[in-house]
Symmetry: C2
Subunit: 347 residues, 2 copies
């Protein structure tokens, strides 16, 4: 059960929810959030500072989409794959899906009075971190299953949508879907305008993602790939239902990402974008494409506007990937230097 243990390791990061002390300043809520659509149309990467990274992206896209270019790529092969956590939106102080887990436990608690005296639930309800840590991976796994499995898929989708519409980030105090990166929204739109088919390939849950990411990024659900639970179809009452079972089916991280890309897309990408060592295999896979390709790492360098972390971070660790990117000349985007703004609506 290698996959399960890998994901369990990930859920251990829940601990950060309780202990992290974000280095960012607390921001006030912005009244209006715009995605600067008009600016995007005129200047496709308007939120990117001029420099070699922005230029390298534009040069690549122009080269491979210009008919007659030696590096021209037919439309069918213009596949771009993006990681989500830390690449398209923030992931601190813990993966947002894990913050969803905690919120759900608290929301579900009134219907489960026994949780007040039952671990690992009691620890969550009490915000008692030392106790939750004692429950270990087994406890965290139980929280994940309790909040993600045992219900029909449409019920789960509505739960995520409702959470996304109401929940706010603990320190940024914004809805989570406003903590996406404006420069990346522009990059996605720029690639779509150049007839790239853009996919998300996330370690996050595929149905957690699809509940909000389609609207947020303008990427259709069938182009959003993630980790999966085993599911079951039943039609016993003349009411066809797909139920989420409490069993992880596939962990879409590390070696899982190229495997998922092959399964869901069936083509090697020509563009791959990530931010952590968990994306390294996806970038290696794209780099092995005989067509001209582009590998991009997002480096979290902005402790003021976002968060700064890399080699030693327990979330989004960027260590082996950094070395390989430097060695191979992949783009490393410096969020502090390369991006004019981080989030939509920022000035």
């Amino acid at each position: 059960m290698k996959n399960k243990s890998t994901l369990l390791a990930k859920t251990a990061l829940l601990s950060l929810l309780f202990v992290a002390t974000p280095s960012c300043k607390k921001e006030t809520v912005k009244e209006t959030q715009t995605t600067k659509t008009e600016a995007v149309a005129e200047n496709p990467l308007a939120s990117w500072n001029d420099g070699k990274n922005k230029q390298a992206i534009i040069d690549y896209v122009k080269d491979v989409t210009t008919e007659g270019s030696a590096n021209f790529i037919p439309v069918a092969d213009r596949i771009a794959t993006f990681d989500n956590d830390g690449t398209l939106w923030s992931e601190q102080p813990a993966y947002f899906q894990l913050l969803f887990v905690m919120d759900r436990i608290k929301a579900m608690a009134p219907e489960h009075p026994d949780w007040k005296n039952k671990q690992p639930y009691k620890a969550v309800l009490d915000n008692n971190m030392p106790e939750l840590m004692k429950e270990g991976k087994k406890g965290l796994f139980e929280l994940l299953m309790t909040t993600h499995a045992g219900m029909p898929t449409d019920v789960f989708e509505k739960t995520v949508k409702d959470w996304m519409a109401t929940a706010k980030h603990p320190t940024k105090n914004k809805p989570y879907n406003q903590l996406v990166f404006q420069p990346m929204l522009e990059l996605i739109n720029y690639l779509k305008a150049n007839q790239f088919k853009v996919f998300i390939v996330s370690g996050g849950g595929i149905e957690f993602m699809r509940a909000w990411a389609e609207d947020t990024y303008g990427i259709p659900k069938d182009q959003i790939i993630g980790s999966t639970f085993k599911e079951q179809f039943e039609n016993t009452k003349g009411n066809p239902t797909i139920t989420r079972l409490p069993e992880l089916e596939f962990n879409d991280d590390k070696e899982g990402k190229p495997v998922a890309i092959n399964k869901f897309i069936g083509r090697k990408p020509v563009i791959a974008v990530g931010n952590s060592d968990g994306d390294l295999q996806m970038l290696q896979y794209a780099a092995s494409n005989p067509l001209k390709n582009l590998e991009v790492y997002i480096h979290h360098t902005d402790s003021v506007r976002e968060w700064a972390y890399d080699r030693k971070s327990h979330i989004g660790g960027f260590d082996k990937g950094w070395d390989e990117a430097a060695q191979k000349g992949w783009l490393i985007i410096d969020m502090k230097k390369d991006w004019k703004v981080i989030y939509p609506g920022d000035k």
Copy 2:
């Protein structure tokens, strides 16, 4: 291992390769095969005879794509899912993928001299059906694994492409990708022209399908879904490779079809088309869509131009599905009456 046993049951159909006596007349090879592209543009369902079935399809598409209609369906929700074997191409005297298995064993035999004296290979090489039957499901499963696993995905893809370019159907004497149904090519194009996103949801292998179906049907690889083998990513020699492992991962048949649709597409279809009881759950799933939906069964009624079979057939059995279609008023296409031609190039 319910999935494995289900697929094993399917492989047992290999036996039909040896025993079937097709009721069709042997046809001569047509020198030119056209897909009647021009005719399609002028008359979207040109190879369909006028009648209530053709009209019902046209009425449905017009109704749900006309702005202002009470049944209007937004583009994002225009999802159509098609079975492949028996729905988009023929499946007699055995699933074509199983004929590929037999051809591959024979092609691989020179490199495996021991197969001459080793079952189940000897039985295949000797065309010795009684002996192969003795080997049972275990033997057939071994043949499937030998021909489909243990190689990198790109090697497997090339093998299928080469086979498709050279192999011919044992009685029709045509390449297999010319045994697709001209009226269905027109239906796919008609739906695409009306902004439906068309997916194949096949019990056949996903990579077997993608090697030829993209070109044949004009459907991108990422919209072709099928049964999967477990796969593994490795990058030990600096050469990223995805290898097909000898383990079935998912059987995309019966209850598996709605599960795969939810996983790969993330939306309930509004159109579902199949030909057998293996497609029933997919049609039930589409029929439960609150949006106006269309369920279509292809009934193999033409013993002269194609094959005639239904309730008692060991391939493409159409029994429970027929009853439910009749009860619920789903369309049942009578290939003999509803289709002017069967294959591209037919007159």
